[in-house]
Symmetry: C2
Subunit: 338 residues, 2 copies
């Protein structure tokens, strides 16, 4: 276990029981009688990442509970956390189809192990299970909020697909799309944790904003890893954004500050036929023709700003271990190398 992993584990230790319950619910939701289905759900059970979104639901719930007389979280909250993780898992399975990715958390992606057809279906099945689980809860808050958010996620992904090869895209448009694509679910995790089962929208606004900001920071860092990380450390395919025409923060910044000749080289790296077959592919060519470092530095700085703003919002919470945990957890978004 890396020092970072150990630190994360210490952070979530106070919610270990809730996380264990969340994982049971996820395992039950992945179970299936049909062998063709259980083969696949067993496989994706191995994708398990840090489960940050589920942890955010639970930590936000405890932060809220600390302000109440009872002081305990709602017994359904681990189910809510499981639903958020299942929706995330569904988006991962579909993302891998969209990206044509080979690896996901060091495990073959579903589209590689089987094919795109079943990956589409499996993602649909996970969405349906998540929605179904949300309809079994006694409060409609989770199903209402999460079905709204999945619409935002899909619309964000569609806008991202429409914006491929758009090197002129303003950075604030990139941020709006990345917030929809990634920040929205982080925001819903924090808001739901804080509000479930009956908190008002007004009450949840601060935690929603906190989640959306760290989610956007997470996406900026994720895009940086695809651009400048290495596959072994990342545990997943890298360079997929360049192959797929996705122009992310650092590239947009570099392109929009480059001279005309460099711009033409950047476009070529993304689009010239035949580059896919070269060692390192399009990403290697892109690094050759353009100094990405200033763009990467600006992206890291922007992610840090977002986390700073997000942390400021936590000051309205009462002091205590849950606030501390949320505070420290937001740091992981910046420092992750996985």
């Amino acid at each position: 276990m890396s020092p970072k992993d150990a630190q994360l584990q210490a952070l979530v230790a106070p919610i270990a029981g809730d996380l264990a319950r969340m994982r049971e619910v996820i395992a039950d939701a992945l179970a299936s009688d049909a062998p063709a289905v259980s083969d696949m759900t067993d496989h994706i059970g191995r994708f398990r990442g840090k489960q940050l979104r589920g942890a955010l639901v639970l930590l936000s719930g405890h932060a809220r509970a600390a302000t109440t007389k009872a002081g305990t979280v709602d017994p359904e909250l681990p189910i809510v956390a499981a639903i958020v993780e299942l929706i995330h898992l569904a988006t991962l399975v579909h993302d891998d189809v969209l990206d044509g990715a080979d690896k996901r958390r060091r495990v073959a992606s579903v589209n590689r192990r089987w094919d795109n057809q079943v990956a589409v279906l499996l993602g649909d099945l996970l969405y349906s299970r998540a929605f179904h689980l949300s309809t079994t809860l006694r409060s409609p808050l989770a199903s209402q909020l999460l079905s709204t958010i999945t619409q935002e996620i899909c619309a964000g992904e569609i806008e991202q697909a429409a914006g491929r090869y758009d090197f002129e895209m303003p950075l604030d448009v990139y941020e709006r799309v990345a917030t929809a694509k990634t920040g929205a679910l982080y925001g819903a995790a924090c808001e739901l944790g804080f509000r479930y089962p009956d908190g008002s929208e007004f009450d949840g606004a601060g935690m929603r904003a906190f989640g959306r900001e760290i989610g956007l920071a997470f996406q900026i860092v994720d895009d940086l890893i695809d651009l400048s990380g290495n596959e072994e450390a990342a545990g997943k395919s890298i360079g997929t954004d360049v192959e797929d025409g996705k122009v992310t923060f650092a590239v947009l910044h570099a392109y929009q500050n480059a001279d005309a000749a460099t711009r033409a080289h950047v476009r070529d790296a993304y689009t010239l036929p035949g580059l896919d077959g070269e060692p390192g592919g399009r990403l290697a060519r892109l690094r050759e023709v353009c100094d990405l470092e200033p763009g990467c530095a600006r992206a890291r700085q922007r992610a840090a700003e977002l986390v700073g703003t997000a942390r400021g919002r936590l000051e309205r919470l009462p002091e205590g271990p849950w606030r501390e945990a949320l505070f420290t957890l937001s740091e992981f978004v910046l420092e992750r190398r996985w």
Copy 2:
């Protein structure tokens, strides 16, 4: 308008107001502020088919209402019908990705007009909108029942994908998978119409069975069209099942009753490299090497049996125009050529 179309229109005339309201709800659900999204939702608005599933919700609702004192359907029922149609639309968009289809109801399919990536995302968006709409209703019945059914649909599609090129598949397994894939949503349409907002599961069982049986019959006929129809009449690509390795009722019947040499030829028609490029492709080869007519005849007979059983269930409903409409509508499943 064909005589059949005119007959269908006459059938649904008594629910014309409810259908118009259903279409308004669908149009609202397809609207979007993001141009990238509205381009696509405008496009799929043109897929509009016979909307049989929505009509079944409304007719079943009226059949139930006729047995009550008030005699009127719930004002939310057209929204329920719209949700069922949106889920159907989502499955169509994803099916076209899975099938690699070029045309859907004489309009280019989403994956052809844009690409597979956006088709996956658009399907996800439609599912999310449908679920979201169901969470806005005052009864949780629609969200509970439809999120259960979408799981069955996806699991059925996964089993179908796992069973590709399985020429030994027993016909009852084909029927179980086709029922999950297609019959389930017909069943849910009829059950929801009959039960919404607060009918018991017991009350809905007969209409669910009616729907599942006519849905399975519909799928058997649909598979026959892909095998023996022509593209112009069908308004969609045909021969896709053979290209895609799907072994449907008539082929299973023909194969399982053929001699060893014919069986080998059938397998070759499905699998030999290079056949995709030939005029008519694999389907033309399949028709050459194997007499499909007895299989097709048995498939038509089986579909007629199913519709007969389904109609028998309607006898428990009180006599009247709604029962007549459901009775006649079930005939369309057999006679459709679109």
